[in-house]
Amino acid sequence: MPPRTLLLEPGTTIPEVAVAIERSVQFLSARGVSKQCLYAAELALEELQTNVLKYAHADGVARPFRVEVEDDGVECVWIRVFDEGHAFDPWAAADPVKGKPLLERMPGGQGLMLVRKFCRSCEYERRDGRNCVTVEILRASEAK
């Protein structure tokens, strides 16, 4: 079995983020996590990294960021995304309002809502001048 933690420093473009997602999914797949866990992990990796590109780099400065994927081999997988952008807690935003008329619906905010839905817990902390976003996913099946 591969080591329990994968560390990645994706570039700041969409194709580089896509490569990081693919490598993370291959890593978790090789460690034997469930199909549902892989789905949730890929969703979280995609939504969290693109969120960093959108908000941490909103001032036009491309700052490097780091991704950690950890599997305890028993119960949980953790995905942590560290970035050096401005303090930004993605979980502070409310989910999109439900039940709006079709033509008034806006796509924003759905990605993080989905991560909340597929992951057991979602946390944020500002540490040493960096944002750290962590999600926890059950290895065996989805949480909700």
């Binding site: 997602i21 890929e42 969703l43 033509l103 990605g111």
Partner: protein, 113 residues
């Protein structure tokens, strides 16, 4: 990600999607998907049996097309999403904006009713 434009059946445009509907795939198929769906002015069936993954980027594309169809008085129905894909669609309320049916004939019948 593969898109098959199956043309028109009983006046309904039918499109089949296969593969992984993630960030980069959605960017790749967006023009062809819009051309096969909202551009034609028909009701639309989107067969999702072969889609094993969708994120908010795919949902965004569907929302965009459903809103375009709505402006033309047309609707979309999805066919047979896998359980995880269906969970995403329902979480994003896509089931209230477009129908979900078990197979293509049922989806076409629903749009012709």
């Amino acid at each position: 990600m593969l898109l098959h434009d199956l043309g028109t059946k009983d006046g309904v445009s039918v499109v089949e999607l296969n593969g992984h509907m993630g960030l980069t795939a959605v960017q790749e198929i967006e023009p062809a998907f819009k051309s096969a769906t909202s551009s034609k002015g028909n009701n639309v069936v989107v067969d999702l049996r072969g889609v094993d993954y969708i994120s908010s980027f795919g949902v965004r594309l569907f929302l965009d097309v459903i809103q375009e169809l709505e402006k033309k008085g047309k609707k979309m129905v999805f066919v047979a999403p896998t359980s995880d894909v269906q969970k995403v669609l329902i979480a994003c309320e896509m089931d209230t904006m477009a129908g979900i049916e078990a197979d293509q004939p049922s989806a076409i019948a629903r749009l012709r009713a």
